[in-house]
Symmetry: C2
Subunit: 399 residues, 2 copies
């Protein structure tokens, strides 16, 4: 007899497994290169050479018991100081090592801070559509995730919807910017409106409402889009970051939490989040990778490839008559389903060997998500398949 909650999750898991197996089935039938798999957010661009060089040099020059050993549960002091100083250079802030906790990716950091903040029954808000895992993270710590609508078409936060959603039990708002799955980058104006609503509600209810800004796609922006540093415009903003996408290291589980000193109950929040990092099982972020990313601050994989993919896929699909949100960030295209039935659309797409994720899997039905962190060649060769799908949907551009 396992946990009732986990029994439900284990049941749902079969849907994801079914998709994975469908991909393998199609690959076996038609060859892997003839299956156009846009379902996974796994970077296809290698880590920059500097990551490898950093690891090699660390193993040659630093002591084994230091590189692979325990350190503070918050991470190596010098790594945290270096991250803080990098942020200070980027954002004109004055963080120190004591504002940073190195975490097992952004997911580890989010769990740490949610465990820190939530009492049973507390509410956490997030804008729709969103990475559904947020619901599990919040539930892990006894909280309840509530969805907040966004402005239709632009997928920017809707401050009025937010105002209506905040209650006395609201402890936090998770913001994911740049956004998975829409590819939207939230504007400064939209975020300032969000900050204003939360500031007003903090006064009304007499307790802090934290923004937890989940930013693994921070560097993946195009055409010079600005990713606002939230602590600049809101006093209770905590930033979670991961090098998963920027350095193409998703499997390594390396990220950080930045908790600015200006946050309410700062000392308590920082101490408790460090303890949460310890007791949730991480103990600390992987040590060698902490030391490696310290040497690669400000560097990224060759993101221009994602930009080329973005233009190619957006251009190709809109030419066929599809509508999509023009993505300013991340590596996702959020495509409107012609007749609004996203699950049926994904099924239909499989006939043409195209795999993508229905929007319903992000609380965004009527859309599908295409992850374009694939080879440019895959996109080029997928376009004729998309043309058939468009024709099957009766789209004008396909004629």
């Amino acid at each position: 007899m396992i946990s009732e909650t986990m029994k439900v999750l284990a049941g749902n898991n079969s849907a994801i497994r079914a998709m994975f197996e469908e991909g393998n089935r199609l690959a076996a039938l038609y060859g892997r290169e003839n299956v156009y798999d846009f379902s996974l957010g796994n970077p296809n661009i290698p880590a920059p050479e500097t990551v490898k060089a950093a690891i090699l040099d660390i193993l040659e020059t630093e002591e084994s018991t230091f590189v692979h050993g325990y350190m503070s549960n918050a991470g190596y002091e010098d790594v945290r100081q270096a991250v803080a100083e990098y942020l200070n250079r980027c954002h004109g802030t004055d963080y120190g090592a004591g504002n940073i906790i190195m975490t097992v990716g952004a997911a580890g950091g989010l769990n740490d801070i949610l465990k820190t903040l939530l009492n049973p029954g507390d509410e956490v808000l997030t804008f729709m559509p969103y990475f559904l895992e947020y619901g599990n993270y919040v539930a892990n710590h006894g909280g309840v995730l509530r969805q907040v609508a966004v402005e239709s078409g632009t997928f920017q936060p809707d401050p009025e919807a937010l105002r209506a959603a905040v209650t006395e039990r609201t402890q936090a708002l998770i913001v994911n910017n740049p956004n998975n799955p829409t590819g939207a980058v939230y504007t400064r104006a939209a975020l300032e409106a969000v900050a204003a609503v939360l500031t007003e509600k903090e006064k009304e209810y007499g307790h802090p409402i934290y923004i937890l800004s989940d930013e693994p796609y921070r560097e993946l922006v195009y055409d010079g889009a600005e990713v606002v540093w939230l602590p600049e415009i809101y006093h209770n903003a905590i930033v979670g970051y991961s090098w998963s996408k920027s350095l193409s290291l998703p499997g390594e589980r390396i990220g950080y939490l930045c908790i600015p000193s200006q946050c309410d109950d700062f000392e308590l929040v920082y101490t408790a989040a460090t303890i949460a990092n310890r007791i949730l099982g991480s103990v600390n972020a992987p040590s060698l990778m902490q030391r490696a990313v310290m040497r690669c601050l400000g560097q990224t994989s060759d993101i221009s490839a994602y930009d080329r993919n973005r233009k190619l896929l957006y251009g190709g699909l809109t030419e066929l008559g599809f509508e999509a949100v023009y993505p300013d960030g991340a590596f996702y295209l959020w495509l409107k389903v012609p007749d609004g039935d996203d699950k049926a659309f994904c099924e239909k797409a499989k006939k043409y060997n195209i795999l993508m994720v229905p929007g319903s899997s992000f609380a965004g039905s009527g859309y599908v998500r295409l992850a374009y962190c694939v080879s440019e060649d895959t996109i080029r060769r997928s376009l004729p398949a998309f043309a058939k799908l468009a024709a099957d949907c009766g789209l004008a551009g396909a004629l």
Copy 2:
């Protein structure tokens, strides 16, 4: 306003910090080499050269997007298969990749399996004294940890105490073998008696009671002591392992769970534990380290150094008149406090620049834990300080 639970933990944290700061204060006053710090279980022996060689070769020969990328949440298929085959060679079992989940150390694995098994209010048992973090791990998932007495002197499991402790709500028993903090290695007879009690109680209550065997010290045994493979003697035993101690990689957070197919509800438990690994924030065990440990299966750091330390420290302290459990495993000496007041004894020891952890921190008052994963030189130079401490306690051997 943070979580009430975390507020309590953050308050207690100051005691640990105080100890850490006391160490730094003494080091500043007398020099680091004149402080005899036996407080931390951080291996002082470097990782074997093969770990470094493995990492270098992986980075040269395997693709970046593969080595640093996402894989199944349970871990790379080939890594899991290799771990399973290694276990089969050691224990004559027939595990496959589908019995193994790669985890963020043993702590990550324990959290995964506890999240899998526990409904709110469920009980988990463990033998005293124990690594107090177990209480936090169990509480993370809504459970309650109950302590079970051991046989006095030997610190072996007491089957009668176990029988009395099991209730209808008991879901699991955490066994830590070899044991932190006592250094005891549980005998086959003692573990068979434990298995018999649990089998009887499973029948009485009509549901499985799992043994969660936490085995980060499995290879750290001396004089040929046997560490029983628990699934051999109990049908519902799940093993959690970490390479933290055997390969001196505690900071890297790399371990596994082995869930034998013979376990009740095997498919459900394995699937749910894999999901737990994902949603608790780990997503997967660090990828490069998964691939590195696969190449180092069966290897260890130079454990003979711990054996030398063990004999030196045990011999030196008993000669002074102290009593201690002769450790068969791990790298801890469990020393009896002459007058039984372990906190006062630790305070007194600080006068002689000796740092150790009071047994109360392991639910084992009347004893202290000395971690002998330090240099042999530290132990040699600490003995005159221990002689002064012994004299201060009025011990005969010190005269």
